[in-house]
């Protein structure tokens, strides 16, 4: 019986391994690019994993990392642990990560996050029709934006990043140290 189960598992897993083995994993970079002219971050409202609406404006006055991602996107998966790490360390200083999932259902994402070695505790919001991605001019996944306390997009990164890198932490800490301009 055990052998039969093992054989079944191997048969089911082998094609999956074959199909995915060909995709290489480029190293994650860590550069975030400061926008020459900061732009106001448009507000939006999306459902989270609990079905509750969350608006960007709910987080005004905080430093916000907006990360556009999907479960099928390899670099998106690889940057989750570093996002969780910086979120855990700086959340009590006014830093928030919002994972904007593209075109997937809460059930699918919930099942997926349960399989990760590092569970993301930051809010995951569902951009089911990709309207928010469109609003922010996102062309590819992952794309990450940093929004300052004044509600302006000040940094942008296309492609996977190691957000736990000291240079990224220094940028976020610098933004956290800024005054919020009375907003």
């Amino acid at each position: 019986m055990f052998n039969r189960c093992l054989a079944l598992i191997l048969v089911l897993c082998a094609p999956f391994g074959l199909l995915h083995a060909e995709l290489p994993s480029p190293e994650l970079s860590h550069e975030l690019n400061r926008l020459k002219t900061p732009v106001a971050a448009p507000d939006f409202s999306l459902e989270d994993l609990d079905g509750e609406q969350q608006a960007l404006n709910d987080y005004r006055g905080k430093v916000i990392m907006l990360n556009f991602w999907a479960t099928w996107c390899p670099p998106c998966r690889r940057e989750i642990p570093s996002m969780e790490s910086i979120y855990q360390d700086l959340a009590d200083k006014g830093f928030v990560v919002l994972g904007i999932n593209e075109f997937e259902t809460p059930d699918h994402v919930f099942a997926y996050t349960g399989q990760l070695s590092v569970f993301p505790n930051f809010p995951i919001l569902f951009d089911l029709d990709s309207k928010v991605a469109e609003l922010y001019g996102v062309k590819g996944l992952p794309t990450t934006l940093l929004i300052n306390k004044q509600g302006q997009v000040v940094y942008r990164a296309a492609g996977g990043r190691d957000f736990d890198h000291p240079e990224v932490r220094a940028i976020v800490s610098e933004l956290l140290a800024e005054e919020d301009g009375g907003n």
């Binding site: 480029p26 690019n33 999907a70």
Partner: protein, 194 residues
């Protein structure tokens, strides 16, 4: 991962021409890789500050990706019928860099150059077929800041195992650069024996 290095014979002429301000094909080291687990091929062109990779994708992989996104069987089979590559573009320079898929051409065995189908063209077709999904395909054009990179699928209407060339372009520091993959090959119908 096995590597085969191919340094094109045009490196020296390109270097000489670059001295007079014209670069027909920027110098590139093209490596070919064979994935030991799947037997599938990939190619990487490494230029100064810019790299481009093409990775063979099996039709079943394409089916799995699009089926899982809820696309209809008709659309899934349409996509699986294309010669498809995973494509990774990286800005490894300290300067902004840009590319446009519309500038790229694939060259078939008869010597004819054909434009590469863009994401915008696909999205227009998908919209007509009632598909709202807009991800997975390589973005048409992007401006990359230092450290930026992107990946997505590139589609060509070619049969399994077809060998072809691919000319690509990008802009770096205001200068248009070109490169060529001399021998790309569409993925087979099934994973090769390894």
């Amino acid at each position: 991962m096995k590597r085969i290095y191919r340094y094109p014979a045009r490196i020296l002429p390109a270097l000489l021409l670059s001295l007079v301000g014209y670069i027909p094909h920027s110098m590139a080291a093209v490596e070919t890789f064979t994935d030991e687990a799947s037997g599938l091929l990939s190619w990487k062109a490494q230029h100064p500050g810019f790299s481009l990779q093409f990775i063979q994708l099996l039709p079943d992989y394409i089916r799995a990706i699009y089926s899982a996104r809820g696309l209809s069987p008709k659309v899934v089979e349409l996509m699986a019928g294309y010669c498809m590559f995973g494509t990774i573009i990286k800005n490894e320079s300290g300067e902004p860099l840009a590319y446009r898929v519309a500038d790229w051409r694939y060259i078939t065995a008869d010597g004819q150059a054909h434009p590469v189908k863009t994401k915008t063209q696909w999205l227009a077709e998908w919209e007509d077929m009632g598909v709202a999904f807009r991800w997975s395909l390589l973005p048409d054009d992007q401006q990359f800041a230092p450290g930026d990179w992107s990946q997505g699928f590139t589609t060509l209407p070619l049969a399994r195992d077809t060998v072809f060339k691919l000319k690509y372009q990008w802009t770096q520091q205001g200068e248009i650069h070109e490169g060529i993959f001399e021998e790309l090959r569409c993925a087979p119908a099934e994973a090769p024996d390894v």
